[in-house]
C-alpha cells in the first residue's frame, strides 16, 4: 500500500488491517514513554493548504511517536495556494528527502495529482469535499472501541447535516458500509448531493423519525455560509429541524452513541453541550486521532508493504 488517499481506494481489507494496527499503536500510547523507533530515519512532511491545527498536530505527534522526522509547510494564501507552483513545491520538497506527504487542500483531487510529481507516499488529510480517510478511520475505531465489535453488521448509523459539502461524510459513508453498517443520511434536500441513488444508503429529511432507532448518531458541522448560499433559509430553522437538542438526546436509545468530527458550531448543529450528552464519544474521537495516524504512517512507511515484493 503506497498511499492513503480515499476509503474506496483502501478497500475493506485495508480498512480492517489499519484498525487492527491501531490497537498496537493505542497500546504504545499508554506506555510511560510512548515512543518506538519504527520509523527512525524517515521524514514526513505536512503540506496544509487549509488551516487545521488539530489534524496537523495529530499527524505530527503520530510521526514523532514513531521516531520519524517531521517537516511542516504552512502554505497559506500565497500563489502556491492557487496551484501555480504546486508541482514545483512538491518536487523540491521531495528532493530534500521526504518519504511521505500529509496533504490537506481545498481542491478535490490534489492527492492524486501530487502523486504524479513525487515518489513519496501521499496521505490525504482532506481534499475539498471529497475524502478525509483518516477521519473515517478514527470514527470507525472509536465505534469499535466503544461497542467491542469488529464488524458493523446490524448497526444503524445516521449521518446528519451538510452531506453535500462534507468530505467526512463521503469517507464515512464508504467506511461504515464497508464494515456492514446500515447508513441513513438525514438532511434537507438542498444539503444532499444531486444524486445519491447509487450510494448504499437510505435518506430521510426528518431527524425525529429516525432518531429513536439509531445506534450511532453522527452530527456534521453546518458552516454559516450555507445560509448565505441559499442552502437553508436560516441557521435557526436548520437547528430546529436537524440540530441535536435536549429533546432529541432524550429520544435516543440508552446505548446510542453520539459523534461529531469537530470543530462544532455551537447553537447550530449542537444545541446542547456535548459534555452533557451521556454517550458522546467526541472526546474519544480526538484521543484516537494519534493512534490511528500512527497506524497509517507505519503501514505506509514501516511495515514494508511498499518494498519491491509482497508484504
Amino acid at each position: 500500500m503506497k498511499h492513503l488517499r480515499s476509503i474506496d481506494e483502501l478497500g475493506v481489507d485495508g480498512l480492517v488491517d489499519l484498525l487492527q494496527l491501531t490497537d498496537h499503536m493505542a497500546e504504545i500510547n499508554q506506555r510511560p514513554v510512548p515512543k518506538v523507533p519504527a520509523l527512525r530515519g524517515r521524514t514526513v512532511a505536512s503540506l496544509f493548504f487549509e488551516d487545521s491545527t488539530r489534524t496537523r498536530l495529530s499527524f505530527e505527534t503520530a510521526a514523532k511517536r514513531l521516531s520519524a522526522d517531521t517537516m511542516t509547510f504552512n502554505v497559506s494564501t500565497s500563489s502556491v495556494n492557487k496551484g501555480e507552483s504546486l508541482r514545483d513545491t512538491v518536487a523540491t520538497i521531495t528532493d530534500m528527502g521526504v518519504d511521505a506527504f500529509v496533504v490537506r487542500h481545498k481542491s478535490v483531487g490534489i492527492p492524486w495529482q501530487i502523486s504524479q510529481w513525487t515518489t513519496a507516499s501521499i496521505i490525504n488529510a482532506g481534499d475539498g469535499a471529497h475524502q478525509h480517510p483518516t477521519q473515517a478511520l478514527v470514527d470507525c475505531y472509536t465505534i469499535r472501541e466503544a461497542t467491542h465489535v469488529q464488524n458493523f453488521a446490524g448497526m444503524k448509523i445516521a449521518i446528519v447535516g451538510d452531506i453535500k459539502h462534507s468530505r467526512v461524510a463521503r469517507s464515512n459513508i464508504q467506511a461504515f458500509t464497508l464494515l456492514g453498517a446500515s447508513v441513513v443520511l438525514v438532511a434537507p434536500p438542498t444539503l444532499l448531493p444531486p444524486d445519491v441513488s447509487h450510494w448504499p444508503v437510505t435518506v430521510s429529511h426528518q431527524l425525529d423519525d429516525i432518531i429513536g432507532g439509531v445506534d450511532v448518531l453522527y452530527m456534521l458541522r453546518l458552516q454559516s455560509e450555507r445560509m448565505a448560499q441559499g442552502h437553508v433559509p436560516t441557521l435557526r430553522e436548520y437547528s430546529e429541524q436537524y440540530g441535536l437538542t435536549q429533546k432529541r438526546v432524550q429520544a435516543l436509545k440508552s446505548d446510542a452513541i453520539v459523534m461529531h468530527p469537530g470543530p462544532m458550531n455551537r447553537g447550530v448543529e449542537m444545541q446542547i453541550d456535548p459534555s452533557d450528552v451521556k454517550n458522546s464519544l467526541i472526546h474519544r474521537q480526538v484521543a484516537n486521532g494519534v493512534s490511528v495516524r500512527m497506524a497509517v504512517l507505519f503501514k505506509l512507511l514501516g511495515s514494508g508493504s511498499n518494498l519491491g515484493g509482497q508484504a
Binding site: 478535490v108 483531487g109 495529482q113 471529497h130 468530505r167 448531493p193 444531486p194 444524486d195
Partner: protein, 426 residues
C-alpha cells in the same frame, strides 16, 4: 503561383457526385477535373478523399492577449494540419474583438501567416460584459458575419432580445454559448452521480437547456438568425429539432469531444478533461450523434481552446476549461463512426462555410472554376496522438496516446499546399 499542381487519384466528394479523379490547380483555381492529368507538381491522393477544405466555426486563437498558449500563426498551422482552410476566430481575446481595430489586427495576422483564412468573429456585447451592445453595424461593415460572447452566454434576456432585433437588420448571425451562469457557479464537471462521489459542484444540463429554450423563443419573435455553439445535451438536441421543424432560422454545432468523451473521465482528476460545457453522459452522446444524422446539428466545430501546460497542472477547480481540437477533429469524428464520409464533409466544410457566410470561397464543390481550398484525407489511416508532434503551442488534448482514425494528408489553401504528406509547409 503559376506552377500547376495536380492532385492524383483521390475520390472527389461533391454534393452530387463521388468519383475517383485528378484535380488540376493553377493560379489559385481548379482548372480541370479528369483522369491522367499532368502538372509541374503532383501530389498523390490514392486511397484518399478529396473535398473542399474544412471550416471551423469555433477556434480560440488566443492572439491578442494570451500568446503564451497559442498565436494566430501556430493556430493556423494546427488548423492546416487538421485539413482546415478557414477558421472563425473567437472574440474572447484581450482586448476582445468588439472593435474594428482588433478585428483588422486579427485578420492581418491571419493573412501574414498565410495558412488559412482567419475569419474574426465579433462580440455581441461590449467587452463581453453582457451589459450593453457592441457596435454591431461597425463590425458588420468590417466584414464580420458572426457575433458571439463565447466563453459566456448573454445572461440578460432583454439585452439578448434587442441584440437579435438589431442583428436581423444587419443580416448577421448571432451565436450563443448557452450557459445560465447562476446555475453553474464553481462547477467543474457535469452534474451527475460521478460528481456526487467526487464532491465537486456540478454543471447541470438544464443550465444549457434553459438558454437554448429562451433563445429559440426569442428567435421566434424577432426573426433573427441564431447559431448555437457546442451543444452538449440530449434535451438541447430535442429543442433544436423542434425549432427547425417550426422553420426557425436556427443552426447548431457540436464538438468532436462531446461526441466521444464522457463525464467519468473526470474521476481521473486530470484537468485536461475539464471543458465548458462539460463532458456529459453516454445518453447525451447518442442523442448528439442522432442529431448529426438527421440534420438537427449542422456542423462539427472544434472549440479549439489552447492553455499553457502550467494552467492544466493545477487542481481541477482552478484549472481553466478547454481542450485543443484542430489537429484531432477529423480523426475523432471518423473513429466515432457516427456518420458517412459525405456527411462528414458536409458537417466539417459545406455547412459551416454557409453559416459563416464564406461559402463563396470555402465549402464549394470541387469543380473546374472553383477556387482551390481543398482537403485531402485518408479516412482509414489509424494514428496515435503524440504531444511532441503537435503544431499547436499547447498540448492540452485529451487524446494523447489514443488511437484515432482518419488523417489529413494534404491541405491546399488558395491553390498552394500548406500541408504535404502530413507535414506543414510553412
Amino acid at each position: 503561383m503559376s506552377k500547376s499542381l495536380v492532385i492524383k487519384g483521390g475520390t472527389i466528394v461533391n454534393r452530387d457526385s463521388h468519383a475517383v479523379g485528378d484535380v488540376k490547380i493553377e493560379n489559385g483555381r481548379i482548372v480541370e477535373i479528369g483522369k491522367n492529368l499532368k502538372g509541374e507538381m503532383q501530389l498523390d491522393a490514392s486511397g484518399c478523399i478529396v473535398s473542399s477544405g474544412f471550416v471551423d466555426l469555433h477556434a480560440h486563437l488566443r492572439e491578442p492577449g494570451k500568446e503564451e498558449a497559442e498565436t494566430i500563426e501556430t493556430g493556423s498551422r494546427a488548423g492546416a494540419l487538421g485539413g482546415y482552410t478557414a477558421l472563425v476566430a473567437m472574440p474572447n481575446t484581450d482586448p476582445p474583438q468588439d472593435s474594428v481595430a482588433v478585428i483588422d489586427f486579427v485578420r492581418e495576422q491571419g493573412k501574414r501567416a498565410g495558412l488559412v483564412d482567419v475569419v474574426p468573429s465579433g462580440c455581441i456585447t461590449l467587452g463581453r460584459q453582457g451589459e450593453s451592445l457592441a457596435p454591431m453595424a461597425e463590425l458588420a461593415s468590417a466584414g464580420v458575419t458572426l457575433l458571439t460572447d463565447d466563453g459566456n452566454g448573454v445572461q440578460d434576456a432583454a439585452l439578448m432580445r434587442r441584440a437579435l432585433e438589431y442583428a436581423r437588420g444587419l443580416g448577421i448571425t448571432l451565436a450563443q454559448h448557452c450557459e445560465v451562469a447562476e446555475l453553474t457557479k464553481g462547477a467543474v464537471m457535469n452534474e451527475c452521480s460521478c460528481c456526487t462521489d467526487l464532491g465537486l459542484p456540478g454543471w447541470p444540463s438544464i443550465a444549457e437547456e434553459l438558454m437554448v429554450f429562451r433563445d429559440i423563443e426569442l428567435v421566434r419573435i424577432t426573426g433573427a438568425s441564431m447559431h448555437f455553439l457546442h451543444l452538449s445535451t440530449e434535451r438541447s438536441v430535442e429543442l433544436v429539432r423542434a425549432a427547425k421543424r417550426d422553420g426557425l432560422p436556427i443552426t447548431a454545432e457540436v464538438t468532436p469531444h462531446h461526441l466521444s468523451l464522457t463525464q467519468e473521465l473526470l474521476a481521473s482528476y486530470n484537468p485536461v478533461y475539464k471543458v465548458n460545457p462539460p463532458l456529459r453522459s453516454i445518453a447525451d452522446i447518442q442523442a448528439l450523434k442522432a442529431g448529426l444524422r438527421d440534420g438537427t446539428i449542422d456542423a462539427i466545430a472544434t472549440d479549439h481552446a489552447p492553455h499553457p501546460r502550467r494552467d492544466k497542472e493545477m487542481s481541477l477547480d482552478m484549472a481553466p476549461p478547454g481542450m485543443l481540437g484542430l489537429e484531432t477533429a477529423l480523426g475523432v469524428v471518423l473513429a466515432e463512426g457516427a456518420c458517412e464520409i459525405r456527411d462528414v464533409v458536409a458537417l466539417m466544410s459545406w455547412n459551416p462555410a454557409k453559416i459563416a457566410r464564406i461559402d463563396d470561397e470555402h465549402g464549394r464543390d470541387v469543380v473546374a472554376g472553383a477556387n482551390a481550398n481543398l482537403c485531402v484525407f485518408d479516412p482509414q489511416l489509424t494514428w496515435r496522438v503524440d504531444p511532441e508532434r503537435l503544431a499547436s503551442k499547447s498540448i492540452n488534448t485529451p487524446y494523447i496516446g489514443r488511437t484515432l482514425r482518419g488523417r489529413v494528408r494534404h491541405t491546399i489553401f488558395k491553390g498552394t499546399p500548406t500541408v504535404i504528406d502530413g507535414q506543414a509547409q510553412r
